[in-house]
Symmetry: C2
Subunit: 206 residues, 2 copies
Amino acid sequence: MVNYPKGVTGQTGPINNNVRKGKTTQRGMIFGRRGMGLEDAINEANEYYLSNHLAVIYKKPTPVTIVNVDYPARSAAKITEAYFQKPSTTDYNGIYQGRYIDFDAKETKNKTTFPMKNFHEHQIRHLAEIVAQGGVGFVLVQFTALDETYLYPAPELVRRWQDLEGHRSLTYQEIVETGYQVPAKLNPNLDYLHAVDQYLLDLNRK
Amino acid sequence: MVNYPKGVTGQTGPINNNVRKGKTTQRGMIFGRRGMGLEDAINEANEYYLSNHLAVIYKKPTPVTIVNVDYPARSAAKITEAYFQKPSTTDYNGIYQGRYIDFDAKETKNKTTFPMKNFHEHQIRHLAEIVAQGGVGFVLVQFTALDETYLYPAPELVRRWQDLEGHRSLTYQEIVETGYQVPAKLNPNLDYLHAVDQYLLDLNRK
């Protein structure tokens, strides 16, 4: 089996065929989608938001550098040599209730910390630019072992990145205290705009 | 030489090496960049806006479906089979002065009309969704023979698309009358945010 990097099929295709199937847990059917990957859960939520006219948010296609393309007669152009590029921005952006939304999604198996090395400096810089322009930036951090996902605001992330000089880790505790938990629901499974609502309420209070 | 589709190098690389060189016109050096493609001119403007903290707007990477990847030992993963996907959205989005910006760019050699077949239905639908969410949507239409570029607002485009049932053409005259001309400048060459400013002024007046 080919190991695709995450999200490699880009934004337009159907949800990946290699969606991890729901784990068979003791709770069986009810939590049948608990094991779905973070990216798949976000894509599912975005499709739900789009079809219900709640938001227009897409995952950006994976950037690749194309070196060689064949143009067979009467067939689609075939890329025969290409390489993955390092993205210079975040993976997701769009619009929600007139606000520009921009975020990345990260998973960790750790239960008590979230290592800063999960972020690249250019992503932090990008999120800082977004905040300076009045956008709503954040990361969705999923603690897979705990099955908990938090919206962690970009201004906080940028500040802590500078404190920690890009090294060491955020603690689970500070993410819980400063972040906004994403509720688990049936549809969409990962209703992250609910956490965005809570964050916007706090932003507007300031 | 390999004919890359437009923008195939994605968002993170340097400006394409295959930038069309400035035409040698009678006006020589001064208009040395007149012949630069529309996409290159937009990328140049976006870099200018980003480095001057005026806006954060990127071209989305070209979406590709990856079918096969080789992982040679001690080398970067090499994509050996992939195909271009039809984009389901527009090519550019980002944030400017707190507003969500979303647009596509189209060139025509025609001098008097702009054929609707330049747009795909899903792009029109996407722009309609953006407008419904309070975003600023438009297309940049370049009449290459006239060396004139206009911002043509998405609400107008959606309305005219419905009138014309996706067929026939917009006239040059209606684009001039309803659109906003992008001024030619030295830096950036295609200062399209100037046209966005004019459009926002009119929007705020309504």
